[in-house]
Amino acid sequence: MDIVIVLIPIALALGAVFAVLFAIAARSGQFEDLDDPATRMLQED
């Protein structure tokens, strides 16, 4: 069971990485428009 002492911090650290990525994504405006990307893939450039 002692392994949780290592595993929990690792899990939290991994989670924190994604929380930071989420903050970066939100800050760059990726969540501003949630309707268009769905139609955009239907257009070929």
Binding site: I5, A11, A19, F22, D35, D36, T39, R40
Partner: protein
């Protein structure tokens, strides 16, 4: 009468049927077509599902549109583009802009028409960017300054992440109660919980603390105060318990903050959608004027114009200031101010307002008022004040002070009793337990969730409300007054009766005219799929009509009195076309539904009394008042308000006073800017059905809010009693809180279903 030419083609750009080899319907379409092809975007014409639109001239004060400076020296601007009706429209606008020199980055939203352009201010101006869009038939409009960046989403994300992990740790701790747990794991899990709770309390919950502080400084206790109090107590208690090695309510803290932030985020999204719909404002004043001088005419900036100057206006120009005509005649459209799309005749002595545009003819105007004094600018100022007015407060804001005082009172009293009975430690435990379970989570979520759900449901049905308070007010409205032109009717002339051949020839004559009557004729010809004949020697005389030569026949089209135009060949009259304004097809049914809902419906129009009454009885309205001036409209509404809440639907500047006077003012999205900005809600489709939906939505939301508040109170009373008797521990609190919140969500989700149900009942 026989057609001279038989060859029929279609305008490659706008798909209008035309006769002859010269396949384009007008010069604008020809230019647009060439522009798209030269840019290598010819694919647009094969992949689009709807025809293009005829390009219109770009109008407005684009120099004054706010832009944002970016770090690398470029600047960016947000425009609202109208007329994007298929994915290919988005595609062609985006690519055409991307290929323009000086533009770094473009994104066009198909769903909303929002277009963000980043460009180099050295080589391009906002006007040039907009004119690229206008040149291929889409209508760009400037958008008010962008809202400041809002970080609620990130705060919510951080809170959700920490809460989820916090729960994993605390579930282990709770499980340890029965199975036992090694002390070192226990203390590790407790300290881990505290570490995860810290960002929630200090970062995610920060808006509640600042909101509570702002409120307290002006001696107002809003919903933020009990929330901040709960968060503060929970966190401090959590630190103390962790140091002592005992259970804390940290998972409840996480849940509380996450749920409340989610509610707030939903509410904000709804409000922003409403603001976006309303803030697409055209600043329709030109920036330069042609001023007469002793020797000739000079171009000056409008800031240099003075009262008494004489300015010249030609075809397509817009008046830079208010003034009086001293020379010339012209057809002038003053839709910016009057909302009336039909042009009026201006001659010597007529008054012209800034922003009026010349459809035909030329004028010399003596300037009476400039700058801030012009009607248009005063209107804009009034609108700015109106949009700054405070939002109506939430129903829960009124309860918050009582709630806070009662909760804290009970908590302290229970704590004192328990201290006396079994010592200080138990006393503190009970005090905290009461504050935790009576925490304002359910109450704080009850209204925002129901209102956000109601705003969303109503917006999907075509009415965008500016804020939830107005939606709730609408629930108690018993009287609906409606403007006629542009509200109950479409507001622009349409062809009522016309012979095909007459219409075809008349539309051919009007082929490249921008007159509203020309547009009506062309639209009807296009609807009937009549190929437009090719005229030579076309000649448009202001106030008289249009003439042209069609295969040797000399035709002219002129006004034949109110609501009709006459087509003549030489002196012989070939036929007449009747034009008029038609009610929306759904108007009668909508009026019926509203009356079934117990709302009395009346028409209130500036148009003449006979026409208004005829329309009123045709629709089955309870009352119809015609010939009302803007002031009278306001007065009628103020009088009606003595008998309860009143809603008004309008579209023009003459409706501004009525919109402001009514408890709930609806503006049609086609209306003038001032009407849209003064309104509480915008009807986004040209029909009346959305208004019925808004009434249904208001009542459904009201029901949901009441149900939710009742549930929140029931929960709080039960929970506080239980906590006062010492029956609540951290595990029970952790189960109760999400249950109470789920109860709120359940209440809010019923709104959409209920609207549909109400609409069916009223039919």
């Amino acid at each position: 009468m026989s057609a001279v030419s038989t060859q029929v083609g279609r305008c490659p750009h706008c798909d209008l049927a035309v006769e002859g080899d010269d396949a384009f319907c007008c010069h604008g379409c020809e230019l647009a077509y060439a522009l798209v092809h030269d840019a290598g975007l010819g694919d647009y014409y094969t992949r689009r599902d709807v025809a293009g639109q005829r390009p219109e001239q770009l109008k407005g004060a684009w120099e004054a549109v706010p832009t944002r400076s970016e770090d690398n020296g470029s600047c960016s601007v947000t425009l609202q583009v109208d007329g994007l009706r298929c994915a290919s429209c988005t595609w062609v606008v985006e690519h055409l802009l991307a290929q323009t020199d000086g533009i770094d980055d473009v994104t066009v939203s198909y769903a909303t028409g929002r277009t963000h352009v980043r460009f180099d201010p050295q080589s391009l101006t906002t006007r040039q960017v907009a004119s690229v869009i206008a040149s291929i038939g889409y209508a760009p409009r400037p958008v008010g300054a962008a809202e400041p960046w809002d970080d609620t989403l990130i705060r919510m994300g951080v809170a959700a992440f920490c809460t989820a992990n916090l729960m994993l740790l605390t579930i282990s701790l709770y499980a340890g109660w029965s199975d036992g747990m090694a002390p070192r794991f226990q203390s590790m899990f407790r300290w881990g919980s505290l570490a995860l709770a810290t960002p929630i309390a200090l970062y995610s919950a920060a808006p509640f603390f600042s909101g509570a502080w702002r409120g307290l400084r002006v001696a107002r206790v809003g919903m933020d105060v009990p929330i901040a109090l709960a968060v503060g107590v929970l966190y401090t208690h959590g630190i103390a318990q962790t140091l002592l090695g005992a259970e804390a309510y940290l998972d409840s803290l996480g849940m509380l903050v996450t749920l409340l932030l989610t509610g707030r985020l939903l509410e904000k999204r709804g409000r922003r959608a409403a603001a976006d719909a309303a803030s697409a404002i055209a600043a329709s004043l030109p920036m330069t004027a042609r001023r007469r001088t002793a020797t000739g005419v000079e171009d000056v900036a409008i800031a240099e114009l003075c009262v008494g100057d004489v300015v010249e206006l030609g075809l397509g120009d817009e008046a830079p200031a208010d003034g009086t005509v001293i020379q010339g005649t012209a057809d002038v459209q003053m839709a910016i101010v009057t909302g009336e799309s039909a042009p009026m005749q201006a001659r010597t002595g007529s008054e012209i307002v800034a922003g009026a545009s010349i459809l035909q003819g030329a004028l010399a105007v003596a300037v009476d008022r400039v700058g801030e004094d012009t009607v248009a600018m005063r209107m804009a100022a009034a609108v700015r004040d109106a949009t700054d007015r405070p939002m109506p407060e939430h129903p829960t804001d009124r309860l918050a002070p009582w709630f806070t005082v009662v909760t804290v009172g009970i908590a302290l009293a229970a704590g004192a009793v328990w201290t006396a009975l079994s010592g200080l430690h138990t006393g503190i435990e009970v005090t905290v337990a009461v504050l935790v379970v009576a925490c304002p989570c359910a109450l704080g979520l009850s209204v925002p969730l129901a209102v956000a759900s109601g705003l969303g449901a109503v917006a999907r049905r075509g009415v965008v409300f500016r804020d939830g308070g107005r939606l709730l007010t609408l629930a108690s409205v018993k009287t609906l007054l409606m403007d006629k032109t542009g509200t109950v009717t479409q507001g622009t002339p349409v062809v009522l009766t016309a012979d095909n051949e007459i219409l075809r020839l008349a539309a051919g004559l009007e082929r490249s005219s921008r007159h509203p009557i020309a547009k009506a004729l062309l639209a009807e010809a296009a609807r009937r799929e009549l190929p437009l004949p090719l005229m030579t020697d076309r000649n448009e005389t202001p106030g008289v009509g249009v003439s042209g030569n069609y295969g040797g026949r000399l035709l002219h089209l002129q006004s034949g009195g109110a609501g009709r135009v006459v087509l003549c060949e030489g002196t012989e009259v070939l036929g007449t076309i009747e034009l008029g304004d038609r009610a929306h097809p759904d108007a009668r049914k909508s009026v019926q539904q509203l009356q079934n809902a117990g709302v009395s419906v009346a028409l209130l129009s500036g148009d003449n009394a006979a026409v208004t009454e005829a329309m009123g009885s045709d629709l089955g309205a309870d009352q119809a008042t015609g010939g009302a001036t803007p002031e009278q409209k306001g007065a009628v509404i103020r009088a009606a308000r003595l008998n309860g809440h009143v809603a008004f639907v309008g579209d023009g500047l003459n409706d501004s006073e009525a919109l402001a006077a009514a408890d709930v003012g609806f503006a049609m999205h086609t209306g003038v800017t001032s009407a849209v900005l003064l309104s509480d809600a915008v009807v986004t489709t040209s029909a009346l059905r959305p208004i019925v939906a808004a009434f249904a939505g208001a009542r459904a939301t009201q029901d949901a809010v009441r149900t939710n508040m009742r549930r929140a109170f029931t929960y709080n009373i039960l929970a506080v009693v239980a906590a006062s008797f010492g029956l609540i521990n951290p595990l029970i609190a952790a189960i109760l809180m999400p249950l109470s919140s789920a109860w709120m969500v359940w209440g809010a989700m019923s709104v959409d279903r209920r609207i549909t149900h109400l609409e069916d009942t009223w039919t």
